[in-house]
């Protein structure tokens, strides 16, 4: 069977190359410019698709939370309230730009841009389909998490540059959270790496064609899910931005477009973390009849729905409770998961491939 997503993607690529050819023939540009322009066009198309998807995700989150509260949520702007997010974006764009009087001005303006761009880089490393990926390298999982780890550092800087007690407290809470989630995160990924015997996302997905890793190591998947929530600073682990205690934490002093960039970064992270969960535990693009990027997207959005579901259901633990959960529950459990992986590895090798 033909993968319908591939047909659409090749159609879009055709349009891009045709347009570029037309532009080159009219303007008479040199040939060496073709490849950079082509790559830029593809990247911009991907970014456009990503932004559209994120608009959909925000809409879905608001709708689902509203439904769970027995409300209707957004309904007025556009069909079923879909354009409300666009309206919010325009509101953020036209807001007056302000900064605290004694703030570190450079970091104050640089940190939103830094966070948004750093959050976007790992999107390149994930293979979305068997033919639709940006790059393939032997150590993409390691690089992926190395880049993700940069974000809490910038968060601490952003909180410090806010020059407010709330943002400083929020920043240090974010640092605290980093320390407590980093160990179980790497241990739960280690289980996947051991089983797949590869550090490559593509190989990890390829090997799950018969059975997904969530069936082979459910404890690892569970830990990874919780730790992802911690990394995303989403409820119930939104300790760095606990509204009731420290306003919005490290984002307190940021308004307008800077807040918009933080908000966008949050959803970039949301997108990428659920993509990583899909790739590592849910078999990526594998599905019935044909392997397609469509299956990847469906699974990814189901993971997002689960995260929203968890967000509405549970309440926020205290910072000390978070550390206790991490050190006394998650780390022993993830070591147990590693042991389990080592034990069953000889028996599952014929299943994989």
């Amino acid at each position: 069977m033909v993968d319908p997503a591939l047909v659409i993607i090749s159609f879009i690529l055709n349009i891009i190359s045709e347009t570029l050819n037309f532009v080159f023939s009219i303007l008479g540009l040199p040939d060496w410019l073709y490849l950079p322009l082509f790559i830029t066009a593809i990247t911009l198309t991907f970014l456009l698709a990503l932004v559209l998807d994120i608009l959909f995700i925000i809409w879905m989150e608001r709708k689902v939370i509203g439904r769970i509260h027995h409300r209707r949520s957004i309904t007025e702007t556009g069909p079923v309230g879909f354009l409300q997010n666009v309206a919010d974006l325009i509101k953020l764009l036209v807001k007056e730009d302000m900064h605290p009087s004694n703030a570190d001005k450079f970091m104050h303006f640089a940190s939103p841009v830094l966070i948004a761009s750093i959050a976007l880089i790992p999107a390149v490393l994930i293979p979305y389909g068997p033919e639709t990926f940006f790059m393939r390298m032997n150590t993409s999982i390691v690089l992926f998490y190395a880049i993700s780890t940069l974000i809490p550092g910038v968060v601490v800087l952003a909180g410090w540059a806010g020059n407010s007690k709330y943002s400083t407290i929020g920043a240090f809470r974010a640092g605290l959270q980093l320390i407590s989630y980093e160990i179980p995160l790497s241990l739960s990924i280690l289980g996947v790496i051991l089983m797949a015997q590869s550090l490559d996302f593509y190989r990890v997905i390829e090997i799950q064609s018969n059975i997904w890793f969530i069936a082979l190591q459910p404890i690892g998947a569970f830990i990874f899910f919780i730790v992802t929530l911690m990394e995303l600073e989403r409820s119930p682990f939104d300790i760095p931005e606990a509204e009731g205690e420290i306003l919005v934490g490290w984002r307190t002093e940021y308004s307008g477009l800077k807040f918009g960039l933080f908000y966008a970064a949050e959803y970039f992270k949301f997108f990428i973390a659920s993509a990583a969960f899909t790739a590592l535990f849910l078999g990526g693009w594998h599905g019935p009849f044909f392997d397609s990027v469509i299956y990847f997207l469906i699974k990814m959005h189901i993971v997002m729905l689960a995260m929203v579901w968890v967000r509405v259901t549970f309440f926020r633990p205290r910072p000390d409770q978070l550390i206790k959960i991490s050190y006394t529950k998650l780390i022993p459990l993830s070591i147990l998961n590693l042991l389990w992986v080592v034990l069953i590895n000889p028996f599952v090798i014929p299943l994989l491939q």
């Binding site: 689902v64 509203g66 439904r67 769970i68 509260h69 027995h70 409300r71 209707r72 309904t75 579901w309 968890v310 509405v312 259901t313 549970f314």
Partner: protein, 218 residues
């Protein structure tokens, strides 16, 4: 044992919120959809005119004095045998919708409808005072007044106008109403002919309407 308990403590709340996720919302898109009203809802009043016996119990039960009676045209209110013909007029501007008049009614003539919107067609306080002909459920009894003066003529029999005006105007309207009533009785006795009565009454009614307009709705 404690592990099972902990797993349950995760699954149970997820099940509750999951059930809510697929349920319908409680909120109503109000201006577009009609709000769902319970059967026992105390809405705006309606009147079954042929059931009403003019006993006066609803006026006695009213804690806010917003019910008074109107006699049909050509009936003499001084004749106590004609009392059964009078019908209640209600001032919704003062009504607190307590439902005591409905409880007091022995025949079920005055009742609450499912309607909950009190609307005024102008900014006049007069719109909130409804004559029995306006709230009647029977089509042949119900009528719509084409101008405010004809409505004022009906309402001059009641004390609702002076209560609605309130404050310093209350005494003024009371005195005007007394003069109007004298004229009315003279006409019923045959001492005034139709034309003179109409002219003299109209003068008083115009003043009353002018005062009522002063206390227009915000």
């Amino acid at each position: 044992m404690s592990i099972i308990k902990k797993i349950k403590s995760i699954i149970l709340p997820m099940r509750v919120t999951g059930k809510y996720m697929v349920s319908k919302p409680f909120t109503v898109m109000y201006p577009r959809e009609k709000a769902v009203v319970k059967k026992q809802w105390r809405g705006l009043h309606g009147l079954h005119s042929n059931k009403c016996i003019g006993c006066g119990l609803c006026r006695m039960a009213c804690p806010n004095d917003c019910i008074d009676y109107i006699y049909p045209e050509g009936v003499d209110p001084r004749d106590r045998k004609q009392m059964k013909l009078r019908r209640p007029a209600i001032d919704w501007g003062h009504c607190i919708f307590c439902g005591l008049c409905v409880e007091a009614c022995p025949t079920g003539a005055i009742h609450h409808t499912q309607e909950y919107k009190i609307y005024a067609t102008s900014d006049s306080r007069l719109d909130l005072i409804r004559t029995p002909y306006e709230i009647a459920t029977e089509d042949d009894v119900r009528k719509i007044y084409d101008d405010e003066l004809s409505k004022i003529r009906e309402l001059m029999q009641t004390d609702l106008l002076e209560v609605a005006a309130g404050g310093e105007w209350e005494e003024v309207i009371k005195k005007l109403r007394e003069r109007w009533r004298d004229l009315w009785y003279m006409k019923l006795d045959g001492k005034l002919d139709e034309e003179t009565w109409d002219k003299k009454a109209r003068e008083i009614e115009e003043i009353v309407l002018e005062i009522i307009k002063q206390v227009s709705l915000p």
